[in-house]
């Protein structure tokens, strides 16, 4: 896969992976064995008919390939870029047992990009209005999927988004160099072109409550995501220069702070940055810090490389770009100066002990191994949980310990009648594709319920 060179790409926010040419795509597609019993389909959270779309690429019928994907996945341009394929379809690819798995994700991306470039985006037939309407809370992957699935069935769909741009984490969380915002805007425009109404600046739970919405809608889908940032709860976390990953990335991605002062949301360009965490958000934060001109960027993670939940490709990209990985390291204190600015962090070295509930080996502190590291910025990327606003203002909506809305895994139904939920607001921070899978299931359940 052609990529920008590391030392060039850390100076810009352009997309790192440049995409296949049709020749490269057909060459890669040709490697597929066309298994009689394709494991890849089961590996996909939304069950895309992978061998079939690959076959279309081999035949040169790219239009048919896109259509096949879109039967199951409304956002192939997004998923082709951000799905952790090495954990899903590519993990179980038969070819991957002895050789490299077929690059399924890159082929999906190729088809989606081809369709957009060719301008021949096929619109599905839209059923005539069935007189019923559905409200969707949140314009992230889950909400977009529910909206596009239901609007074609004849429902009047309105999406309510708290921010001033749609896309949710696709817009504010994932950086430009991994997912260009032009693609997100394109997908949002496509959904609007199907007839979905988008209301920005609407914070459900404040501007209108779920109950107020239910007075005017037959059903509601809550896809409000997991936007509440976790902090480490260690001393010094409120020092200037300490950010939640949400703040850091929102300043950069949504508010385009990397173009300050042309875009007026300021974004400090720190020279020594420590990012706490090992997931995709941590990789995104570290690579963003590099692009903002940092001399040294560290990922500080309490376990080892093999336990990191980030996409392998993003870990490799970060390594190529020169991010320093401090494995088996736990931050215990943040220290600052008299004016309240962060100056250094104190850490403890760890070793791996017995596995914990997540199945990963538990990190155990090594006594007396404290050391300090001079930094002028810390980005805390250790995870998020759902924003409590909706649960707080919707009586009877049952939630779990971390504020996640309790919903049936197969239907997305919640404890409230006429209220469905899916995506990060139910599972906690997870992937785009799993949010879309949940959205699909909920849309099906909503349709079945309202058709009774």
């Amino acid at each position: 896969m052609p990529k920008q060179e590391p030392f060039e790409r850390i100076r810009n926010f352009d997309e790192v992976a440049l995409g296949y040419t049709p020749e490269l795509a057909r060459e890669e597609a040709g490697r597929c064995l066309g298994c009689k019993n394709p494991h890849c389909v089961a590996g996909c959270p939304v069950g895309i008919d992978i061998p079939q779309f690959i076959q279309h690429i081999i035949e040169g019928d790219f239009g048919a390939g896109v259509k096949k994907i879109k039967e199951r996945n409304a956002l192939p341009a997004v998923c082709g870029r951000v799905c952790p394929q090495e954990e899903q379809c590519e993990k179980v690819c038969v070819l991957g047992k002895k050789h490299e798995a077929v690059a399924i994700g890159r082929l999906e991306r190729f088809l989606a990009d081809w369709e957009a470039a060719s301008g021949a985006v096929e619109k599905p037939d839209i059923a005539s209005p069935n007189g019923r309407n559905v409200a969707v809370v949140g314009s992230g992957p889950a909400g977009i999927t529910v909206a596009s699935d239901l609007v074609v069935l004849g429902y009047d769909v309105a999406v309510f988004e708290a921010l001033h741009e749609a896309g949710g984490v696709l817009t504010y969380g994932i950086p430009e160099f991994r997912l260009p915002k032009a693609i997100v805007k394109r997908e949002v425009e496509y959904v609007k072109s199907l007839g979905v109404k988008l209301h920005l600046d609407c914070i459900v739970g404040k501007t209108r409550t779920v109950d107020a919405l239910l007075e005017g809608f037959d059903a509601i889908f809550i896809g409000a995501g997991a936007g509440l940032p976790w902090f480490m709860e260690i001393p010094g976390e409120n020092l200037n220069g300490v950010y939640s990953a949400n703040e850091y990335l929102t300043r950069c991605n949504l508010m385009k702070g990397f173009q300050f002062p042309a875009y007026r949301t300021p974004l400090k360009r720190a020279s020594r940055v420590a990012v706490f965490g090992g997931g995709n958000v941590a990789m995104d934060s570290a690579r963003t810090a590099l692009r903002l001109g940092a001399d040294e960027v560290h990922i500080v993670y309490r376990r080892s490389r093999s336990e990191m939940p980030a996409r392998i490709e993003e870990i490799e990209n970060a390594e190529e770009e020169g991010v320093i990985f401090d494995y088996l390291t736990l931050p215990i204190r943040l220290l600052g100066n008299e004016e309240g600015w962060l100056t250094e962090i104190e850490c403890l070295k760890m070793e791996l002990g017995e596995p914990d509930e997540s199945g990963r080996r538990r990190p155990v502190p090594i006594k007396g191994s404290e050391f300090t590291m001079k930094v002028d910025a810390v980005v805390c990327a250790i995870g998020n949980s759902p924003n409590p606003l909706i649960a707080m203002t919707t009586p009877g909506l049952r939630t779990g310990k971390k504020g996640e809305v309790l919903a049936d895994e197969e239907t997305g139904r919640t404890s409230r009648e006429k209220v469905w939920a899916g995506g990060d607001v139910v599972t906690g921070a997870a992937t785009v594709i799993s949010a879309m899978g949940a959205g699909r299931k909920a849309a099906k359940s909503i349709h079945e319920t309202l058709s009774e």
Partner: protein
């Protein structure tokens, strides 16, 4: 896009700003704020709601022109539009019959405390209002406050009002005015709220402050508005903006407010002239 109905300077550098935003007007309560952008490249800026008109579908705020974003807002005219006006955000102010309540407002805090004073008065509290500023010409909305207060007191540093001095004279003034508040609410700049809390801590009077940290989304997503209250981390946008003034870590809050001072100046110094400096 949201239409600007009025934008006018009421006293030097303080502007009254009314925007047509029916969905916000419908849900606005005292103590809430909105987040707006003056234009597509602008910052998301929080402004407390000072009043609203359900019928007209409009919401009013008072803002102080102090940096690049407020400078843009200060140049808006009736009929202009702004791209973002989201809300209402923040927890509603605590309203009820609390006996005697002293509402202290300074600067933009005079505007933001008005709906609180009004609602308290409607709920049966006996409201006294204290407007604080450097000089009398910087105070405003006295007639509005008079309608909902037993008395409106003015305190200025330069002797242009009945009372002269800083808020540190509060105890004395309360004695002179023969007011014994059961609760005090103070809105305004950080120093006013902090100094008031210092004074009232000794008096043992519950003091509610309306915190004004830097914000971006205003919905609890980013944590930039975080402060320490009674030793715990709180987000001003969802846990506040009202907090107990005696529990706030003021030193930390003041330091955090200054984070972007250098960057605030930069956009103001653009002129395209090579020898600008």
């Amino acid at each position: 896009m949201y239409r600007v109905v009025t934008r006018r300077m009421i006293v030097p550098n303080l502007h009254e700003f009314t925007v047509e935003a029916p969905q916000v007007a419908m849900a606005a309560r005292p103590g809430n704020f909105v987040i707006l952008r003056p234009d597509e490249t602008g910052e998301r800026v929080p402004l407390t709601v000072a009043d609203w008109d359900l019928e007209a579908g409009t919401v009013t705020s008072v803002f102080l022109q102090v940096g690049a974003s407020t400078a843009r807002l200060a140049r808006l005219k009736a009929g202009d539009t702004i791209p973002t006006y989201a809300g209402p955000l923040g927890k509603d102010a605590e309203i009820g019959n609390f006996g005697t309540v002293l509402c202290i407002g300074g600067c933009y805090g005079i505007g933001s405390i008005y709906p609180v004073a009004r609602a308290l008065h409607e709920a049966g509290s006996t409201v006294y209002t204290l407007l604080e500023g450097r000089s009398r010409y910087l105070l405003y909305w006295q007639e509005r406050f008079q309608k909902v207060s037993a008395r409106v007191i003015e305190l200025t540093r330069d002797g242009s009002t009945a009372h002269t001095g800083h808020i540190s004279r509060l105890q004395e003034i309360l004695n002179l005015e023969r007011i014994t508040p059961d609760r005090i609410i103070v809105n305004g700049c950080t120093f006013l709220m902090m100094r008031t809390s210092d004074v009232t801590r000794e008096l043992g009077v519950k003091t509610i402050v309306n915190m004004n940290p830097i914000m971006i989304d205003g919905t609890g997503m980013c944590g930039v508005c975080r402060l320490t209250v009674a030793g715990k981390m709180r987000f001003a946008c969802v846990d506040g903006p009202d907090f107990d003034g005696h529990e706030v870590d003021w030193k930390e809050f003041l330091a955090r407010r200054k984070t972007y001072n250098p960057e605030e100046i930069q956009p103001l110094r653009r002129s395209g002239c090579a020898s600008h400096y």
